[in-house]
Subunit: 349 residues, 2 copies
DNA sequence: ATGAAAGCGCTAACAC
DNA sequence: GTGTTAGCGCTTTCAT
């Protein structure tokens, strides 16, 4: 075993073989216009013969662009975010770009680290769903950034893609109301998170409009995980007088966790407790009954965000704030109690 | 708005400010031994003051190492693979490396593209689960590679991490047998895929040992997706005389798809049909009853694979073939028919 | 302990 | 059309 040629061939090797200068090789490789067809063919053959492969590092160093993009999301193991990642991934691949995916695990420190890693890798741009609102640096991040989710509100100067929370929450609340659930318990996200604030604001407004005091609503906090959903539901089920018969969860994982708690308590869904989720993850199909939920267009969010980012990277300055509508997916976890309970017209009060 | 300094500061800027040469700056930054403590402090302060950030591209070009690793898996939207990715991701982050994750979508062409992208990005190494066995180039891939999954069999010279299929399948088959299911229908992966061959080989051997002709078994093919699982189960349920009362699926997604088909047909699981899965994805918890399955240590697979890869990258040549055991997770989708049906001792035949 | 200088592999003016 | 030359920002001898 003698190492014949430890290093990969460079344009210089190719140039020598083809009998031209290295700039000619470079031109041939980047199919520039000003080059003889014959010469190109010759160069290409030479390149082929030594198994030449462009060194992106050198190319990037020179051109200042790496062809790499970044994506920072809270949790790649959450199917919703996995879908977003796929959408972004696919679009990037389509355009010949590579995507660096980072999962912050809802941890601001890890998020900061990932953001730093992206800068160091010299990515051409990034799509970010900031966990904390403490991220004030995004504005001067020094590269094209597209936001996903609630934080868009905090950085109106940045492009963003998200689902229409207002429309989605109202859609859900209205659907519940039509089924006779006029005062659902709310399973909200973590206190202090902007997404929670936005969610609750819509809920608040919705009930105010109907002359119902939002303070009457039962609200439990969760961490967007199955476990926290189970725990929150357990808390609700502990209540004696006002045990809720309907729960609206801020995401599907918590909704499914709640379902588990209901089942564990020996109760039936939707017989005893109706559950409405938010996200539209595939796992909701498998529950029995299936989880009724407000579906966000996850794949599309990733796709559009990447599109915006690529536009920005290539100089087309398109400041856009895209809001995609949510959809209701009824799979049976809601019981219609409209005709069961005596309907009380709360018109004038 | 006048642009003060469009370009990021380089070591030259830092050097000028600190009043030293650029090599001194480089030394300070890479905490070399041969440098005065005072000088270093001075340099660091200068770097700080201009917000200097190392250019990894230049560094990589010089040193030949990028600090980036690659991961190529079939489907990031499949929770099992998402977990593998997380395991790898976390370990990489722990060591200060970045991970490029690619999803091939079971498509050999996309896989080849991704592999090429990795080479172009000059990653220091890669973890791969080859979709097709057509990938013969892996051996001469020109960089450290760690294999995940069945293909390890094809490339014994490469390091690999995987779950113990033989142990896992036998564990499942044995568990079924103990519950009285002596001839489960098999919901296998796609024809031609090595993973399928390995799975079926174990099944084959298992029944041969028990003097049962494996050809008697009902076998349906699937694509590792929910939809294909549903379709396969529908096919099985169509049978008149020998409709199976037990199905062993090669992955959880197909198992859950089968569950959907059973439900849709108005049948009960496990009352009418028992279902056993393979993977151990979280979604199996939500089905009612929960999906009983053979759990693979997904997170750990990613973690160990990354560990091996990092070892290889840093020169510690550790050719290892790690096989992690599977575990049985009983969540109730199996009915014990041992005492129901007249038990026939198949001892001597 | 520090500086000078030579590249890593490529691109982009600029000549001819 | 093609060759020459000068870097991109950094690391790494080799002097001093």
């Amino acid at each position: 075993m003698k190492s014949v040629k430890p290093n990969r061939p460079t344009i210089i090797d190719v140039a020598r073989i083809a009998g031209v200068s290295k700039s000619t090789v470079a031109r041939a490789l980047s199919d520039a216009s000003n080059i003889n067809a014959e010469t190109r063919k010759k160069v290409m053959k030479a390149a082929q013969s030594v198994g030449y492969e462009r060194n992106h590092l050198a190319q990037s160093l020179r051109s200042g662009r790496t062809g790499m993009l970044g994506l920072v999301i809270p949790d790649i193991a959450n199917p919703f975010w996995a879908e977003v990642a796929r959408g972004a991934q696919d679009k990037a691949a389509e355009k010949g770009a590579s995507l660096l995916v980072f999962s912050s695990d809802w941890d601001p420190v890890r998020e900061a680290n990932h953001l730093r890693a992206l800068r160091h890798a010299r990515v051409d741009g990034a799509i970010v769903n900031p966990v904390e609102d403490s991220i004030d640096d995004l504005g001067r991040f020094g590269m094209p950034v597209v936001l996903i989710g609630s934080s868009a509100e905090r950085f109106p100067e940045l492009s963003s893609v998200g689902s229409d929370i207002v429309q989605g929450v109202r859609l859900g609340l209205n659907y519940l109301e039509n089924m006779g659930h006029t005062r659902p318990a709310i399973l909200a996200g973590p206190l202090g998170r902007l997404a929670r604030v936005r969610f609750m604001r819509v809920v608040h407004d919705y009930f105010i409009e109907r002359n119902i005091d939002p303070a009457e609503l039962l609200v439990e906090d969760g961490e967007y995980t199955v476990e926290s959903g189970t725990q929150a539901m357990k808390n609700l089920l502990k209540r004696s007088g006002d045990r809720p018969i309907c729960v609206f969860a801020a995401n599907d994982l918590m909704a499914l966790g709640a379902l588990l708690a209901v089942r564990e308590a020996g109760l039936k869904c939707p017989g005893d407790v109706s559950i409405l989720g938010f996200d539209g993850i595939p796992a909701g199909v498998f529950a029995d009954p299936g989880l009724t939920t407000i579906s966000k267009p996850a794949r599309k969010i990733g796709d559009r965000a990447m599109e915006l980012l690529l536009d920005q990277v290539s100089g087309r300055v398109t400041h856009e704030r895209i809001v995609l509508p949510c959809q209701l997916t009824d799979r049976g976890s809601l019981l219609d109690v409209k005709d069961t309970a005596p309907k009380q017209m709360s018109s004038t009060g």
